[in-house]
Amino acid sequence: MIAAVGHFALATALAVSLIQFVVPLWGLRSRNTSSLMLALPAARASFALILCAFVLLSVAFLQDDFSIAYVAHQSNSALPLIYKISAVWGGHEGSLLLWLLMLTGWGLAVASRSSKLPLEISATVLAVIAGVTVGFLLFVLFTSNPFERLLPAPLEGRDLNPLLQDPGLAIHPPMLYMGYVGFTVPFAFAIAALLHGRLDTAWLRWTRPWTTWAWSYLTLGIMLGSWWAYNELGWGGWWFWDPVENASFMPWLVGTALIHSLAATEKRRVLASWTILLAIAAFALSLLGTFLVRSGVLVSVHAFATDPARGVYILGFFSVVVGGSLALYTWRAASMSLQAPIRLNSREGLLLINNVLLVVAAFSVLLGTLYPLLVDALGLPKPSVGPPWFNATFVPLMLPMLALVGFSWRVNWWKADWGAAVRANRVAMLVALVGGLALPLMTPDVRGLGIFVACVLAMWCTVTALAEILAWLRKGRLPPASILGMSLAHLGLGVFAIGVGLVSQADAEKDLAMRPGQQADFAGYLWEFQGTDHLEGPNYSAEHAVIVIRDGAGQEITVLEPEKRRYHSQPNNPMTESAIDIGVWRDLYVSLGEPLGEGAWSVRLYVKPFIRWIWFGAILMAIGGAIAASDRRYRLARQARSADAEMGVAI
């Protein structure tokens, strides 16, 4: 019953989306207002239908309806409630349904704000979103139907992959998808601008908050994924340059560039066609990420789909969408007459440099991610590109960016006065220098000159952002949302960079064989392994260890209890549950290896200085984005439909 209704809802959504895609575009051509109007209710209906399918699938999970193949593969009656819900998007089919829910949700948001947009713009935007929806719905219905029946129904489900049974992972995919899919909106706006042949201030003010919202979600999604990997994989790493991580990071880099080029275009009317190209690229990279993750071409923990038909379909869809948009771009972009000359020695010049750095960084990630696949496709031996490549290209690109960020809002539009910029930042420079040298010195085992340089630059970025907020507060008022948001995001970048620099240079790791009662002196702490006992969890059994950590003076700091779990559904697949003592300045991290006989275990000990700063910085960036996107300026801009926004279509 549930399966039939759910399937029917998806099929109906396909029909509605087709209407939402075709009719408004036809209305645009035939100048028919009622056809344009149809986009709004269609957007609401397609969201309602997808939501209906999603809720039905969730109900099937809650009821342990194993007659649905997807539920039988992803769930189990012993699975705790929260993971039954997160299991809805724990696999390929369900995660695509979530993707569709987000996509139509963004469409709904555009539709509900459409009273502030000219009708032909909102109708075009909704039609483009519907086009993408159609593509994904066809994919779901023909290759990845979440409602496929499994007859006879098994008595018990196969269980959710134990790795995914973690609170961080319950919310990571929804956030990440909100961001990924959110870039469809600026893309749709870009296509609308190309179709209508104009790109004006009003267009920029509509597009900016959507882009920034999508970017904020993506930031949060990536951050949660990193946090999950750190907690759950037991390797103490927070970023692996895994192709799937790269797939989400490339749209983030290009999206960041897009936010900044939108600012330059709005203020100085420069980089207009570049901005359009970035909007297309951010969306293309989101699609590419989907292709990489969902087609199974990658060797990765995340890539759970391995059906070649799916890969071929997504690749075809990708070629049509991206190829079509680029063709439209080459045809129409030249006619967008919004080109003022750009001077490098100005704020817009700095934004251009920022864009170049970010896009080059995205390109280096793209190269490292795709090169092995391309070589493999040519039938040559398949190489792998390791983290050293990414680190070697990334660090030199990001350090100058940190330096420039600190200057960005002290340098004027049109023409920079560097003398004034430096004078205004004298205190900040001093604080950054002292703080940037002090932080690594406070951290034991710091190696090399590079980390001091990195810390000074990261501090510089942090301090100047703080100074900006303080300057407003001293004037007795809160900064406007756009400035507060920008400053928080830049503050977050600085905090993030401090964390990355120190944890990558100064983390300490040791693998040890420990007998019960044995003590190890490592990284300034005494780690005592007290032995293991047996534990029974709801759907697993575990070996549970107790490790007492004391400081140099013998004072107890914390007791960590890592586990080695065996889930009943997969007894041959032991899982490492690490135990972490969280701190502002450092994390202490312990995970169990394997039993070595006579109660002894191999144990992995880590000290991770400043690692919390990485995620805290990312959260600040996301909050900053959210604040900036809700600036009143954008809302006013939408209400004041300037004459300039009236389009050439007669209504």
């Binding site: 992959n161 790795l163 490292g368 590109v385 390791g386 290209t393 064989a513 032991p574 191999s602 992995r604």
Partner: protein, 144 residues
């Protein structure tokens, strides 16, 4: 100015391609290692199945010695550290490291989190159906 820019871009591109080439790692099977196809001192990824009965631990340390094999040959591997949860005899794994005097000294051993997992490169080299159990690589090794 334009010339300077071109030179700069070219220099960066040359540097990047150098770094890129240095960081490529290739995948080899045990047979290729035995045949001497691996350039000396190159850091490589070695894929194969852990030969049953070959795993030897040194007491009170994390040193492990074992042999990795494909359908024809086996290579001695030595590793010091914690093995992944799914490391087991008969399991397909990928080890990263260098060849030293005929022994593959690994600094990283990966076995993915799925008991049926087989690295695609390995499945291909074994000519297996993807399950990794079809070529029965150990029959000959066990007898010899």
């Amino acid at each position: 100015m334009v010339l300077g820019l071109v030179v700069m871009v070219a220099a960066i591109a040359a540097m990047a391609s150098q770094v890129f080439r240095e960081n490529l790692m290739y995948f080899y099977s045990a047979t290729e290692v035995v045949n001497g196809d691996v350039p000396p001192q190159a850091r490589i990824r070695l894929g194969g199945l852990v030969v049953p009965g070959s795993v030897q631990r040194e007491p009170a340390s994390l040193r492990v010695d074992f042999r990795m094999a494909d359908c024809e040959h086996a290579v001695a591997v030595s590793y010091e550290g914690i093995l992944p949860d799914l490391f087991r005899e008969g399991q397909g794994i990928v080890a990263t490291g260098r060849l030293q005097d005929g022994v593959f000294v690994a600094d990283e051993v990966l076995a993915k989190h799925d008991e049926n997992y087989m690295p695609p490169e390995l499945a291909e080299k074994l000519g297996a159906d993807g399950t990794g159990h079809s070529c029965a690589p150990f029959k000959s090794l066990e007898r010899s």
